[in-house]
C-alpha cells in the first residue's frame, strides 16, 4: 500500500515536469483529433501516431502514448454519438443511444455524460491499476517460462474464440497472426523461417505495418467498396452542451456501475471492451426508471457503456504492464510502442525502470484531467473535423498511413506488404473475420514460442513440465475450457446479438 503511494508520487513527479506535461497535452490532442475521424478506432490511432513519437526519448513518448490512448477512446465516442459510425465495436453501445440523443437535439449532454463518465471511470480504473499492478508483479516474478506460455494460451483463446461471433473465424484470424509471427530469423537458432530468400523478411513482419495495413488501408478499401450503400449523416450539436440536474442524477450511477464492469473484465485477459460495454448497456436498460426512452436516446445508455469502455481500457493496461500481455488490438499497439525502444513490459520493467512505468501510470491521471478540461470546450473543433468530405478524409488517412511505413522502412517490399495487409483487412471485413486476433497473434506468437522452448530446454525436453507447475496446469485448463465452451454452448457467443 505505502510503497504504491510512494511509487505513484514518484511517478507524479516525473509526469508533472513541464516537458512531460506538454507531451501529454500533445498526445491527448492528437489522439482525440485522429480518434474522432470516422472509422478510426483507438488501435489505429496509436498505430498511425507511432512514427510521430519515433524520435522522442522513451519516457516522453510513453507519456504521449498515455494521452493518445485515452484521447483516441474519447474521439471514438464523439464519432459514435455524432455520426453513428463507431470506430470499434466497444463504441457500438454508445452509438445506440448516443446517436439517438444527438438526433433529438441532445448531442451536447450525450457528449458531456460520455466525457465526464470517461473521466470518472478512467480515474477509478487507473487507481485500480496502480494498486493491482504491484501485487500482480509480485505474483509474476515467480512465473516460470511454462507459466508464461500457459498464460499466453489463455490470452490467445479468449481474444479469438471465447467471446467472438464465431470461434472458427476468430481462431482463423489468430492463426494467420501466428503464421505472420513466424516470419523471420528464429532468435534461438538463427534459422530463417518463411523468408523465401527476401532479405527484408528476415527481420520479421513489422507490427505497425500489419496494424496500419489491416486497420487503415483495409478500412478505406472496405468503405470505398460499399460507398453506394448509405451516406453517413453528421448530427449537428444543437442546444446546450451542459447536462441538466436531471441528467447528472441519471448518469452518476451508470458511470460507477460501468466502471465496475469495465475494469475487472478489462484486467482479465478476456479480450477488449465489447463485453463490459454491452453488459453495462443491458444492465442500465434493466435498472432504468425510464425504460420507454431506451432505443430513443436514454442518457443512461451512453453514460454506462462509455464508463465501461474507458475503465476496461485502463484495465487492459494491467496485464500489459505487469505481464507484457496485450489483450486487445490497442494494447498490442501499445506493446509495439514499448518494443520500439527495446523495452519489454513485465515485472522486470517495474524493477528496472520504475520511473518509466510509474510516470506512465501517473500520466494516465493527467491525460484524463486534460481530456475533461479540453474536450468539452473544443467540441466545435472536433465536429468540424468530422465534417471533412469523405474523399479527402480517406485520401488523407491513406497518406498518413503510408507515411509511417515510408518513414520507418522506405522499401518496395515493406510498402507492398502494407498494401497486401490492406487487401487482407478488406477481405476480413467483408467476410466478417475479427481483426484484433491477427495483431495479437503476431505480437504474442513469437513470445509464446520462445517461452515454450525455454521451458522445454530447462526440462530437457520433457513436455510434462507444462502440467507440473500448478499455475501453468490451471491456466492451460482454463484455456482448454475457454476453447471448448463456445463450441459446446453455441448460444454463448450470440448474447451480443440478442442485446439490440
Amino acid at each position: 500500500m505505502i510503497e504504491t503511494f510512494a511509487a505513484l508520487a514518484h511517478g507524479m513527479a516525473v509526469a508533472v515536469q513541464p516537458v512531460n506535461l506538454l507531451y501529454a497535452l500533445i498526445g491527448v490532442f492528437l489522439g482525440t483529433a485522429v480518434g474522432v475521424l470516422p472509422g478510426i478506432g483507438p488501435a489505429l490511432t496509436v498505430a498511425l501516431l507511432l512514427p510521430v513519437t519515433y524520435k522522442l526519448d522513451p519516457g516522453g513518448s510513453l507519456i504521449m502514448f498515455a494521452g493518445i490512448y485515452y484521447g483516441g477512446m474519447y474521439g471514438g465516442s464523439t464519432t459514435a454519438i455524432l455520426i453513428n459510425t463507431p470506430g470499434e465495436s466497444a463504441s457500438m453501445a454508445t452509438a445506440l443511444e448516443g446517436n439517438k440523443m444527438a438526433k433529438a437535439g441532445r448531442g451536447g449532454p450525450a457528449l458531456a455524460t460520455s466525457a465526464i463518465g470517461s473521466f470518472v471511470a478512467g480515474t477509478i480504473a487507473t487507481i485500480g491499476l496502480a494498486f493491482l499492478a504491484p501485487w500482480l508483479v509480485d505474483v509474476a516474478v515467480k512465473f516460470g517460462p511454462e507459466d508464461y506460455f500457459a498464460l499466453m494460451c489463455v490470452a490467445f483463446v479468449t481474444v479469438s474464440a471465447t467471446f467472438g461471433d464465431s470461434p472458427i473465424r476468430g481462431l482463423t484470424s489468430l492463426f494467420i497472426g501466428l503464421t505472420l509471427g513466424l516470419v523471420g530469423i528464429d532468435k534461438l537458432t538463427g534459422q530463417a523461417r518463411l523468408a523465401f530468400g527476401i532479405p527484408e523478411l528476415l527481420d520479421g513482419v513489422e507490427v505497425t505495418t500489419l496494424a496500419v495495413g489491416l486497420f487503415a488501408v483495409g478500412e478505406a478499401l472496405y468503405v470505398a467498396s460499399r460507398r453506394h450503400h448509405a451516406e453517413e449523416k453528421l448530427e449537428p450539436v444543437r442546444g446546450s452542451l451542459w447536462m441538466t440536474k436531471e441528467d447528472w442524477k441519471r448518469s452518476w450511477k451508470p458511470w460507477l456501475r460501468g466502471t465496475m464492469f469495465g475494469f475487472p473484465i478489462g484486467a482479465l485477459p478476456a479480450g477488449g471492451a465489447e463485453i463490459p460495454t454491452f453488459l453495462s448497456y443491458s444492465t442500465e436498460k434493466r435498472l432504468t426508471k425510464h425504460p420507454e426512452e431506451f432505443g430513443k436516446g436514454a442518457i443512461e445508455g451512453v453514460a454506462g457503456p462509455e464508463a465501461a469502455n474507458n475503465a476496461s481500457a485502463a484495465g487492459t493496461l494491467v496485464p500489459l504492464l505487469t505481464l507484457g500481455l496485450p489483450t486487445s488490438a490497442t494494447a498490442a499497439m501499445m506493446l509495439a510502442g514499448f518494443q520500439q525502444y527495446g523495452l519489454n513490459p513485465g515485472p522486470l520493467l517495474f524493477a528496472e525502470r520504475p520511473d518509466l512505468v510509474w510516470g506512465l501510470i501517473a500520466s494516465l491521471f493527467i491525460a484524463n484531467v486534460m481530456l475533461l478540461v479540453l474536450n468539452l470546450p473544443l467540441v466545435g473543433l472536433w465536429v468540424r473535423l468530422l465534417a471533412i468530405p469523405q474523399p479527402w478524409l480517406y485520401a488523407g488517412i491513406l497518406v498518413f498511413a503510408t507515411m509511417g511505413t515510408i518513414a520507418a522502412k522506405p522499401s518496395v517490399v515493406e510498402l507492398s506488404m502494407l498494401a497486401g495487409f490492406g487487401v487482407m483487412g478488406f477481405l476480413m471485413r467483408r467476410f466478417d473475420f475479427p481483426i484484433a486476433p491477427v495483431v495479437v497473434g503476431l505480437i504474442l506468437g513469437p513470445i509464446a514460442e520462445s517461452q515454450l522452448r525455454r521451458a522445454l530446454q530447462i526440462s530437457l525436453g520433457d513436455p510434462l513440465t507444462l502440467v507440473q507447475s500448478p499455475m501453468s496446469a490451471t491456466l492451460l485448463a482454463i484455456a482448454l475450457i475457454a476453447l471448448v465452451a463456445p463450441f459446446v454452448l453455441k448460444g454463448l457467443g450470440r448474447f451480443k446479438a440478442s442485446e439490440d
Partner: protein, 167 residues
Amino acid sequence: MTTDSTPGDRPRTRGSRGIDRAGVVIALALAALAGVLVWDASRLPASMTYGMGPQAMPIVVAIGLALLAIGNLIDALRGNLPERESADPKPVLLILGGLALLIAIIGLGGGFILATSALFVATSAAFGRRAILADSVIALVLTTLIYLAFDKLLTLSLPAGPLERLL
C-alpha cells in the same frame, strides 16, 4: 495476402443454405498456407538441442491452419457465413492502383511528395471526386507540408526525389 478471392460477389439472402463459393476459396487458401508452412519447416535442419527446434512451431501452426481450413470449409458448404452486401470493385481497384503507383514512385526514387500525392488523388477519385486537377493541387500542397513538418521538424527521414530537393 493469405486469402485470394475476388471482391464483388453477388449478395446472398439470409438463411440460404447454398454453398458459399468465396468461403470455399478461403478454406483452400488456409490449407495452402498450411502447406507452405510445412514445406518451409521441412527445409530447416533438424536441431540438436533438447526440446523444440525451430521447425516445431511452424508445424503446430500448420496443423491448426489445416483444422481451421476444414472448419471454414464446413461453414462454407453449409452456407453458414454471415450475409454480405454487394461490393463495388471499381473504387477498390482504384485505391490499389494508387498504392501501386506510390510503391513504383518510391522504388524509382521519385520521392515522398509525388508518391503520396498520387495515392491521395487516386483515393479521392475512388470516393467519387471527379476534380482531378484541383485534387492534385491539394495533394501536392498537403504532402509538401507533411514532408516539411516531419522531415525538417521531427527529423524523420522521408525519401527525397526531385521535388524534395527543391525545398
